[in-house]
Symmetry: C2
Subunit: 462 residues, 2 copies
């Protein structure tokens, strides 16, 4: 189990205590997760906030920080003698706790008793996303299961978000490792994809590469010749020359920091001329967005700059028309780019998504738009030095959406539906990289990975 230094975890907890001021902070680690019977487990994934403050990447733990009594306790149980025989020797929990600066450990059974005894203090907990942890909270705190999400502590959420949003140098190094595994996965796919292969063969290649490099998948890969299906986790298609392969996947490092990269490449050795045209528009939007990254700019404005660039390109092709400022204002471009430009990345690929988009990507004063397109933008607020984000513009021709808009004659002032008919079966293109916001602007994460048309084709021709 790789960990940061004791000072890192102590420092994080000290800052958290300062931000919160008082009360009991309750952290639930994750349990093993069952697939088709209790003991057939999915790969264990620790809760990211638990990892951030306590660094212990193993199931069955919980922790409290009692700010008022200046107490930190990790709750968990050592292996029994019989378990030791089956699972081999493991260091005792007390030893592991000391390595992250926690002096006191207790059995798991002690946690509900501890909470019962301390009813006068406010008990803060984060919103649970796993049903077993929600059930535990309901039982221990005598709150109904359905009420639990609304009882999560907003102060606690905000304090955690404030800390986890700003990545330190040692975190950046970890994220770079994750991105570099992700780069290797993409190189593998780009080199080995061949007409006639099944998408799942590429899934095997890239998943195998992540594991062989000591990583894990950071999210369910998208590997598809139907790039216009944005949430596509089907891998059953055959790679057909003339089509493009959209690969959106990445790895976690051994310490569970995430990488997330997208590339789109031709199944054959070259893009068609119309594929090149659309690709180039997407790439220019990517470049425009990257050039705009700096502390102080709202990410929503970066998103809109990219949208405007996409719209310009689409107008040149004759797919959009009219006043583009108005078109983007009204959301007409969202027929082609239905989602957001990017998201925070860290211990989660959508960093802190469990804590709520309204806290991670927006503020009390600056709320998310409800407009189609913008409502899918996970991050809108001002960027700060130390944020790690993704930039992932795309153009997607979604037949169902085109039909729906056209039937309503939606935004027909800005969209050339007649010309658009030629693109109905085009598919989708996206490119994506991770960036660190620095004092001066931004910095790409990880080793270089081919993104320009000529470079991508060079690999595909080999």
């Amino acid at each position: 189990m790789k960990k940061f230094s004791i000072e890192t975890y102590q420092g994080r907890r000290t800052k958290l205590k300062q931000k919160m001021g008082s009360g009991i902070l309750l952290f639930l680690g994750n349990e093993e997760s069952s697939s088709n019977f209790k003991d057939n487990w999915y790969p264990f994934r620790q809760d990211s906030s638990f990892l951030y403050f306590f660094g212990l990447d193993m199931p069955g733990l919980a922790a409290i920080i009692d700010i008022d009594q200046d107490l930190e306790i990790i709750f968990g149980d050592n292996l029994t003698t019989e378990e030791l025989i089956w699972q081999g020797a493991h260091p005792p929990l007390s030893e592991l706790a000391q390595e992250i600066g926690v002096k006191l450990t207790k059995s798991k059974n002690e946690l509900p008793k501890f909470l019962e005894k301390n009813t006068k203090q406010k008990i803060h907990f984060l919103p649970p996303y796993r049903p077993e942890n929600r059930q535990k909270l309901a039982e221990w705190l005598s709150i109904s299961y359905s009420e639990i999400p609304s009882q999560a502590s907003v102060a606690f959420i905000k304090a955690v978000v404030a800390l986890r949003s700003i990545k330190t140098d040692e975190e950046i190094r970890e994220i770079n490792k994750a991105v570099n595994i992700s780069v290797s996965m993409h190189k593998k796919a780009m080199k080995e994809a061949q007409p006639g292969m099944k998408e799942y063969q590429l899934l095997g290649l890239v998943n195998g590469e992540a594991l062989a490099m000591g990583g894990h998948l950071s999210f369910p890969p998208i590997i598809t010749i139907d790039g216009q299906i944005l949430h596509n986790h089907n891998y059953s298609n055959t790679l057909i020359p003339g089509k493009m392969l959209l690969g959106d996947f990445g790895a976690e490092s051994a310490m569970r920091y995430a990488g997330d990269i997208t590339r789109t490449f031709p199944v054959g050795p070259e893009f068609s001329s119309s594929q090149k045209e659309i690709y180039q528009i997407v790439f220019q939007a990517y470049q425009t967005a990257v050039a705009a990254l700096r502390p102080g700019i709202r990410f929503k404005d970066v998103h809109l700059l990219a949208c405007r660039k996409l719209a310009e390109g689409l107008k040149e092709l004759g797919l959009m028309k009219g006043n583009l400022d108005d078109a983007v204002d009204k959301g007409a471009h969202a027929l082609f780019f239905q989602c957001g430009l990017g998201h925070m990345m860290g211990l989660d690929v959508h960093d802190m998504e469990d804590l709520g988009e309204e806290y991670v990507g927006y503020t009390d004063e600056f709320k998310k738009s409800k407009l189609f397109g913008l409502k899918s933008l996970r991050l809108g607020k001002e960027l700060e030095s130390g944020y790690v984000i993704t930039i992932e513009p795309g153009i997607y021709f979604i037949p169902q959406l085109i039909d729906q808009w056209q039937s309503e004659n939606l935004h027909s002032e800005y969209i050339n539906y007649e010309k658009l008919a030629q693109y109905r079966n085009f598919g989708g293109i996206r490119v994506e990289d991770g960036y660190l916001i620095t004092d001066l602007g931004s910095q790409i994460l990880g080793d270089p990975l081919e993104i320009e048309i000529a470079d991508v084709e060079r690999i595909r021709r080999k």
Copy 2:
């Protein structure tokens, strides 16, 4: 989504209804399972009994069979228009339901109402192993969360076990596919393992191979140079010449039937002479067990035959001594073979483990032994034609267990602790294949995979 014919599912449900006679049978399909935030999902795995009776391999479904009213309903929801845009076109649930012979579909919301309306009938449910399904049952049936497991229907469990235990020809074909993917995974590991590699590199290779062949892992792989650690899911060791690599892993077919194979091979090109001696004992126990397989024999007796064979070999080596019948009776051999000889295999790798070992592996009259060794034997009862089982004997030198027994002077009549000291760091050896019980005896599943010493070394030398 691959499925059997409509007649298969109708036939299975008809038999189930006949066995049960009356009441409402409630089937909960599985939901998506969250890793580190709600929408970051583990690969979806449908519940196996749901798959067996309804064949629909997608999240968010439930079903009832109301035997008294002769009603079958699948509960679930079609994609909304917005979801269609993001997820692409999917056939409506009513169409999918018709393909497996269910005429009626309703929204998920209707299920609790249906159960509320039918309070006079007995509602049978299977024991849930996922917390969200347990929570749903508690809510819908007004039973406390903690009481749910004890309220599962034993009659329903027994009826499902009776049906799922006997594999039909079309199921055997699917299991063969799963085993053949597993064989490919093992061939890959055996060919490509090299000194200096990390265990996780092999994990990447074999996991990648499973996915690339259109399969999934059927359980968390064991890939270790510490084969004596029986439940070892650590992959961080380096492959060292002189050590052996124990690989226990397998794949599910696209239709979710499982394969499960174990091989142990030298990290270098050849086994050492003492490794060969132990390997040969394990292999002879394997052969003895296989030769004994036939309908009507108790699997516990096959297990004991294998134990006796292991003990004979260990006596020849001077590690055991005395009267071997007595030694096996008393469980002295379990110092070296702590676990069971095998288990049922089907839609789950430990087939129907969620339904309870006492029903799957034993009977009301024939209960599991509490003796160390035998208490880990998942399957004890009489074999029947159509059972699919694994045969997986092994010899494991577990330092903690040796120390514990020696300090208690346990079974010193049968164990030569002095000689045993030489084997303290030997590790562990296991071999495993899947077998179908036939009218005449048994039949190995899947394509041949090297198991004899000379054949394994031939691959390793290449």
